[in-house]
């Protein structure tokens, strides 16, 4: 089976029923996406499938027909993505476990809505849970990234 992840083609030998997250972490050693709940209720495993955020724990690899982007793919040239930079500037992460998923959803939001309101941020981010409660800093970082994008 062929799988394109972060611009690179991989040949993998797996059952089509295997969740994409399993393939990424266990077969390809791409460890940015995290296992949280396993049933698409927490968002820690969020990756892009053809540019749309998906919960990779609940997508079987057999369903994947397009390109996969993980958080590792946000900086193909080694430069920090503006959302990642905003996360550092706002010191968002506490334990950090959910943050790869948070950042992927934030990137998807900003691509669709470059300058989101608080409500639009909540509407996008409510499916990404953070047990440390970093939500105020997540919101601040998204606004910072939006400002950085506007100024770029």
């Amino acid at each position: 089976m062929k799988l394109n992840v972060n611009g690179r083609d991989h040949d993998i030998e797996v059952e089509p029923e295997m969740p994409l997250l399993w393939v990424l972490r266990d077969k390809l050693s791409i460890l940015g996406p995290k296992f949280g709940c396993g049933i698409a209720q927490c968002g820690a495993c969020t990756v892009f499938l053809d540019g749309e955020p998906v919960r990779s724990c609940s997508v079987t690899v057999g369903e994947v027909s397009g390109a996969v982007t993980t958080i590792e793919g946000l900086m193909p040239d080694g430069r920090m993505h503006p959302v990642q930079q905003a996360w550092i500037d706002e010191q968002v992460a506490q334990c950090g476990y959910c943050q790869a998923g948070q950042i992927m959803t934030a990137v998807a939001l900003l691509e669709a809505i470059p300058n989101p309101s608080d409500e639009e941020i909540d509407n996008a981010m409510s499916g990404n849970l953070c047990r440390c409660g970093t939500y105020p800093r997540i919101r601040a970082a998204i606004k910072r990234a939006a400002s950085a994008n506007a100024g770029a």
């Binding site: 955020p53 998906v54 919960r55 639009e120 509407n123 981010m125 499916g127």
Partner: protein, 189 residues
């Protein structure tokens, strides 16, 4: 003279029978509609035919009725909001994991005007017949939509212990045809 009597008797019989036949068709139509209503009002269908922004979680195995978790909303196109689209969790097929998200092609909410959630049989019946509120479809187009649409089909095969809608897509298609042929009567309330 005999011929004339036969004619008169025949005319009288026809006059008597005509309303009876129409009432029979009406009854058959209403009977078909009642079965259609049992499908359309079933949680597998009605949970996503809501008039507000939020799909529902309800049905035999769901416990108390709730709005969909995770602040899930209709969004501008019925397919969710930016960053959290329906397809973010609902893929082409049901997730295999217990309590995982169900899936079918094109997961989304029905347009607001096609509201079935907590609507009466008469209200849904009138909505289904109204082109302004049924996607400008003829009754035949509604029947084929019910028979052929992949997301609609999920309602009869929801998987993972979820209670399916009654009957089948084909049975509901035939019921819609019977109902339409009988003049598409709606129940009075």
């Amino acid at each position: 003279m005999i011929r004339r009597h036969v004619y008169v008797i025949g005319l009288a019989a026809a006059t008597l029978c005509l309303p009876t036949a129409t009432a029979g068709a009406q009854d058959a139509g209403l009977e078909a509609w009642q079965k259609i209503y049992s499908v359309f009002s079933h949680p597998r269908c009605a949970n996503c035919h809501v008039e507000d922004e939020r799909p529902r979680w309800s049905g035999a195995h769901y416990g108390a009725t709730r709005v969909h978790g995770m602040n899930v909303q209709r969004g501008p196109d019925g397919f969710g909001n930016a960053g959290m689209r329906c397809v973010t969790c609902h893929q082409q097929d049901n997730a295999a994991q217990l309590h995982g998200p169900p899936g079918a092609h094109g997961w989304h909410l029905a347009p607001k005007e096609m509201v079935w959630w907590q609507k009466s049989s008469q209200e849904i019946c009138e909505q289904v017949k109204d082109p302004a509120r049924n996607g400008n479809r003829t009754l035949e187009e509604i029947a084929t939509h019910v028979r052929d649409d992949g997301l609609v089909a999920w309602g009869w095969a929801p998987g993972n212990g979820r209670e399916p809608a009654p009957g089948s897509a084909q049975e509901t298609y035939l019921l819609l045809q019977q109902w339409a042929a009988a003049g598409a009567p709606c129940p009075a309330e």
